[in-house]
């Protein structure tokens, strides 16, 4: 039961260019096509904690799809965003899974995604090109969507909640022309264990962040009993959070049960804080 509640607080959004790159992920995380959304193909799990959008190829498609997914899936500040796809590389080996730690393109300044810590996966610089490139000498990784995905998600979420992972599919010794649906699907499938490791890190990150930013459970109960102005609501939420660290909800209810109005609720809670002597031996 508790695990179920925790999982329902987790929020992951995938932006993937091609269906063939997404198939293994859709199976693995039980995401199904949702016909409600028609602008792009959208998939989600039953609990609506995991969503995946097929953006199509290119920066404009990726930016539009990411924004669309944000809108329709009600993503929050605790949502983690993942871009998965194949990439060309002049440095890595065919089939390697890489995390991206620097992104450049021809138009704008460089950006620097945070990468999942304490892992042994390769971390590489990504160049996002508007046309397919076959000169692999200048860049570690090459794709056609990454920079747009990062630029948009960095506005929707924090840098630490964004992940770009690429599987090397072509390079000087692996002609891009030889790629086909079966090979792409196989490349993703071969890396699924590592992909799952990365995803589980972001799942935990999302759940932890949810715990930090969520409103105290008791807040709505109090708000329903007295009328609070907008600034009083903020004040109330902060006071409850501060008191909740060391006291249970029942104690808070006891403190305010006889209050006549919102002002006296806040006054009582402030008085509680001012009279608290933290017992450092118990925390």
């Amino acid at each position: 039961m508790n695990q179920k509640i925790l999982n329902s607080n987790m929020s992951i959004r995938w932006v993937v260019a091609l269906k063939v790159e997404a198939e293994i992920i859709l199976d693995e995380y039980n995401m199904n096509f949702d016909p409600e959304f028609t602008l792009f193909q959208v998939f989600r799990n039953f609990e609506k904690t995991r969503w995946l959008i097929l953006s199509g190829v290119g920066r404009h498609n990726s930016a539009a799809a990411t924004t669309y997914l944000y809108m329709i899936s009600k993503a929050s500040r605790s949502t983690c965003w993942i871009n998965l796809g194949i990439a060309g590389s002049g440095k890595g080996h065919y089939g390697d899974l890489c995390l991206v730690n620097k992104i450049s393109n021809n138009d704008s300044s460089n950006t620097y995604p945070a990468t999942m810590p304490k892992v042994t996966f390769h971390k590489m610089n990504l160049f996002t090109s508007d046309v397919p490139l076959t000169d692999y000498t200048l860049h570690e990784l090459i794709d056609m969507e990454g920079s747009a995905f990062y630029d948009i998600t960095n506005k929707l979420s924090g840098r630490e909640f964004i992940c770009l992972m690429k599987v090397i599919s072509d390079g000087p010794n692996n002609d891009i022309e030889d790629l086909n649906k079966f090979k792409i699907r196989e490349l993703i499938n071969l890396n699924i264990a590592n992909i799952k490791t990365i995803v589980s890190y972001y799942e935990k990150l999302s759940m932890d962040q949810y715990q930090i930013i969520q409103q105290p459970k008791i807040l709505s109960e109090i708000l329903s009993q007295w009328h609070f102005s907008v600034s009083q609501k903020h004040q109330l939420e902060n006071l409850i959070k501060r008191i909740n660290t060391l006291s249970k909800d029942e104690e808070i209810i006891k403190l305010i049960k006889d209050c006549k109005n919102s002002r006296s609720v806040i006054t009582n809670l402030e008085a509680k804080i001012l009279n608290t002597k933290v017992d450092w031996s118990l925390v």
Partner: protein, 330 residues
């Protein structure tokens, strides 16, 4: 362990950059133009970054030496500070750095010689005044000494100016460079301290208070002047007993003539900074205590501040001359 190091292109060939990189061979190195591309950008999460901070090696262009805020000092008429580094390897829940920067990554400025130049200019401009410099305002002075060598470098500068004091403020038990050189009378190695019970909750990733006392005892025995910084003073159940035990333990361990000064500072946050820190760490017990906002500052009630300062000062006066005791209000 630092996994990623961002290096500004302009200093990638700097000998100090090369030295630092040679000590972190396993890290992935990423070239950048300016440290501002990574550091303190919007949409970063200090708390998450703090779990595994990256290192940024950069060139500082200006503002090497700055006057300290009013109320910060240990007796000199003029006080200055400098920071060769932004951010700290420790994770103290009351630290202003949590609210100062949106990024927890470490920035180390490698052009130490520019600090030297400006420090010497300030000394020349204040020849007739008693001045003190503070290292470790935006970082811990000694915690990354093995990597940077900054304390050793800057101590050499102050060796030339025996009338000018330099304080290295720290929670580290790093005793180099001081154990390898002869003590200097104008160098103060100052330790931030609080009762162990509070420190265990609030001073994350730091050496224990006992280890800090051992380190200062070691340096005192070598002849170095020790500063004791009870800043911030933390309120809570049995605070009198806890501070009394701590103070008496220290004064019975460190000889009085090794103590340069003792200062007591209140816990204070500018209102907006408190908001940011509280958003990051709402579950911190520190914020369940009697902090309130007055005149744009979040602090304990003045009565509590004064009670705690007086209590600790009174105990200290039994061991140390009153002229060496300071109340810090910055």
């Amino acid at each position: 362990m630092i996994e990623t190091i961002y290096v500004e292109k302009i200093i990638k060939e700097h000998p100090r950059t090369k030295l630092i990189l040679s000590k972190l061979k396993k890290a992935k190195i990423i070239e950048i133009d300016r440290y501002g591309e990574i550091f303190n950008k919007r949409n970063q999460n200090f708390r998450i970054q703090k779990n595994n901070p990256d290192l940024i090696l950069a060139f500082k262009n200006e503002g090497y030496v700055l006057p300290t805020p009013e109320g910060f000092g240990v007796g000199s008429s003029k006080n200055y500070y400098f920071s060769h580094m932004f951010n700290c390897i420790y994770d103290c829940r009351y630290c202003f750095l949590q609210g100062m920067y949106s990024s927890a990554n470490y920035v180390i400025f490698v052009n130490f010689e520019d600090f030297d130049k400006e420090i010497e200019e300030v000394i020349q401009d204040n020849k007739d005044k008693k001045i003190t410099f503070f290292s470790g305002y935006d970082c811990d002075s000694l915690a990354l000494e093995n990597l940077t060598g900054f304390a050793k470098h800057i101590t050499n500068i102050f060796a030339k100016y025996p009338d000018v004091d330099i304080e290295f403020r720290t929670k580290s038990v790093q005793t180099e460079p001081f154990t390898s050189i002869e003590p200097l009378n104008n160098v103060i190695v100052a330790y931030s301290l609080m009762p162990n019970l509070m420190s265990k909750v609030l001073d994350n990733k730091t050496p224990s208070v006992l280890k800090r006392i051992n380190a200062m005892s070691h340096l005192a025995a070598k002849g170095w002047k020790i500063g004791l910084r009870f800043d911030p003073l933390i309120h809570g159940k049995n605070w009198e007993k806890l501070y009394k035990e701590l103070l008496e333990n220290i004064y019975n361990t460190i000889p009085a003539d090794s103590i340069h000064s003792v200062s007591f500072g209140p816990l204070r946050f500018p209102k907006e900074m408190f908001k940011d820190i509280f958003k990051l760490y709402p579950e911190t017990p520190l914020f369940s205590g009697p902090l309130s906002q007055q005149n744009g500052v979040v602090s304990y009630d003045l009565k509590i501040e004064e009670e705690m300062t007086s209590f600790c000062s009174n105990i200290t006066e039994n061991y140390i001359d009153k002229s060496q005791i300071f109340k810090c209000s910055a």
